[in-house]
């Protein structure tokens, strides 16, 4: 009996406790509503936070844009002008130690060979000016060794999407180094003799030149400009003597130049230039001859693949026979060179060059010259180079010039 009573009491107590711990339906509903309100509040807070983040992002973006505008955009007329104007240049200092057995060509000298400044200005997207001012051999003037020259000064205009024209003084589109001759861009202390004595680099004229792209990798240049003037009265006959350098240059008889170039494959350049000079004597009469026309044909190939490099060039002048009244064999002037190279590291490169040229190739005179060069370029920076080379030049008649050259060059 007592046991039953105790069990009943225990059951009653448990039911009461259980009933007291479980919320009623009303309480449950109130709880859900409360939680819903809290969720709604949290959602609202989250939305507000997201909105604030978005606003902050917008403000940050606007701040970035404003700061970038101030720091990168022109802040004055002067800054705007400076933004459209470019300055560059290059220079090369040489030491030549050359010995000649049979002539007075020996050299043991230091020379600031070239100091050049470029100035360019972009008038608008299609119109620009470019110039190159050069001092050669450091001191120019009466009785001095050097010269001050303006090698380029032209206006260039993009008259169609892939075509442009320039007018003024410009470099001839011929050869390898005539247009690209910054010292860090070629091997050897001195520029190669074939392009110097046959083309003749560096060579600039005044006139108009049209250039552009015909197809992928195929470009052209075609122009009409001042011609060479080989003065017969002072017995000039070498092509190099004919450069008038656009200094009150005789314009009686013009010259015409055309070049085709292919650069569609990385590392490869194939190019050929033809030029017609209507009269190298520019209207003068000498020994009964009054017109000496001439045609230049030049072709070259450049191929760089990995560390290997190869350059080869051939140039030939076919000149009217009348020039032989000045010098026998000068009606043919020609030459070629081949130049393999190897880049040991990014900074160090080796080269060898064999050159052969003759300014009296039209005769059987012993006038042909051969030159062997071997050397090294060491680039301290991509625009600064130290150079050293050994050369041996032989003339068919027996003269020999040999020795070494050292140089430092830069461009910017």
């Amino acid at each position: 009996m007592h046991k039953k009573t105790l069990l009943a009491l225990a059951g009653l107590s448990l039911a009461t406790v259980t009933q007291a711990a479980s919320p009623s339906l009303e309480e449950m509903w109130a709880l859900v509503q409360q939680q819903q309100a809290e969720i709604a509040q949290l959602k609202s807070q989250l939305n507000a936070t997201e909105q604030r983040v978005a606003e902050t992002e917008e403000k940050t973006e606007a701040t970035f844009a404003a700061v970038e505008e101030v720091t990168s955009g022109p802040v004055s007329k002067l800054a705007e002008w400076a933004d459209k104007t470019t300055v560059g240049g290059y220079g090369e200092v040489h030491y030549n130690n050359l010995t000649s057995d049979n002539s007075n060509n020996s050299k043991d000298e230091f020379d600031l060979h070239r100091f050049v400044l470029f100035f360019g200005h972009q008038f608008n997207d299609k119109l620009r000016m470019y110039s190159e001012l050069e001092v050669e051999h450091n001191i120019a003037g009466e009785g001095q060794n050097g010269e001050v020259e303006v090698e380029q000064a032209y206006i260039e205009y993009d008259y169609a999407q892939n075509h442009r024209a320039k007018a003024g003084v410009f470099l001839m589109p011929v050869g390898i180094i005539n247009e690209t001759h910054e010292p860090d861009a070629f091997y050897g202390v001195e520029r190669n003799s074939v392009e110097k004595d046959i083309l003749p680099a560096t060579w600039w004229e005044g006139g108009v030149m049209f250039s552009g792209e015909l197809a992928e990798g195929v470009s052209y240049d075609a122009g009409m400009h001042s011609g060479l003037y080989i003065d017969p009265t002072v017995s000039d006959w070498k092509i190099r003597d004919g450069r008038q350098k656009v200094s009150e240059a005789k314009g009686d008889d013009l010259a015409y130049t055309g070049r085709l170039k292919y650069t569609g494959v990385p590392g490869l350049e194939l190019a050929t230039t033809i030029q017609y000079q209507s009269d190298l004597w520019q209207g003068e009469t000498f020994a009964g001859e009054d017109e000496v026309d001439a045609t230049l044909w030049e072709a070259h190939a450049i191929y760089n693949r990995g560390p290997f490099g190869m350059r080869a060039l051939y140039a030939h002048w076919d000149i009217d026979n009348a020039i032989e009244t000045i010098k026998a064999g000068a009606d043919e002037q020609e030459g070629f060179y081949v130049e393999p190279s190897y880049r040991l590291t990014e900074k160090l490169g080796l080269f060898a060059r064999y050159s052969e040229w003759d300014n009296q190739a039209g005769s059987n005179n012993d006038s042909e010259k051969q030159q062997y060069d071997v050397g090294v370029n060491y680039w301290l920076d991509e625009h600064v180079v130290l150079k050293a080379d050994y050369m041996r030049q032989e003339v068919e008649s027996g003269d020999e010039l040999r020795g070494f050259n050292l140089g430092v060059g830069w461009s910017f």
Partner: protein
Amino acid sequence: MAALLFVVTLTLSNGTFAKGVYQTGPEFIAEVFGNDTPKAKSLLLTPQLKETASQIMNRQVRGLRMRYWQSDSNTAWIMEEIGKELPITIGVVIRENQIVQIKILAFRESRGWEVRYPAFTKQYQGVKITTELALDKHIDGITGATLSVRAVNKVATLALYFHQQIALKAEQESSTLAPKTP
């Protein structure tokens, strides 16, 4: 007369464009990501990033940030670098620290435009950055366009470096958020 005719013929010829804007930035990004073009992000240029970027570009890198676009492990970058005198606009796409694509979007100078040819730009496919902050593959240049080639090389290297930094940061963040094992 013949010379004039020659020039007129050339002018009228329908050659490819030597210079100008070949593709705008938004067109490039749309081409890379298609319909799922992501929103542009910004990589803040911290002093450390600027110092390394300046080393890669061989000039002082300025600015507060570098914009980029990211979808999964792909990032796309549009950068400008001066070749000789005027800026070249270059688009770079990178996936898992390798270049997928380089495209010249605009070239403004008279020389060196050959860098835009696929024959040149395809050399960059699969190229990575080395620990010395250089490209891990030799890129054959273009004669007479040395400065343009250098500009593309520098931009390629910088984009790889920035991509690498983003990937590293993402890795660090994911390892911080990962639950710690007891």
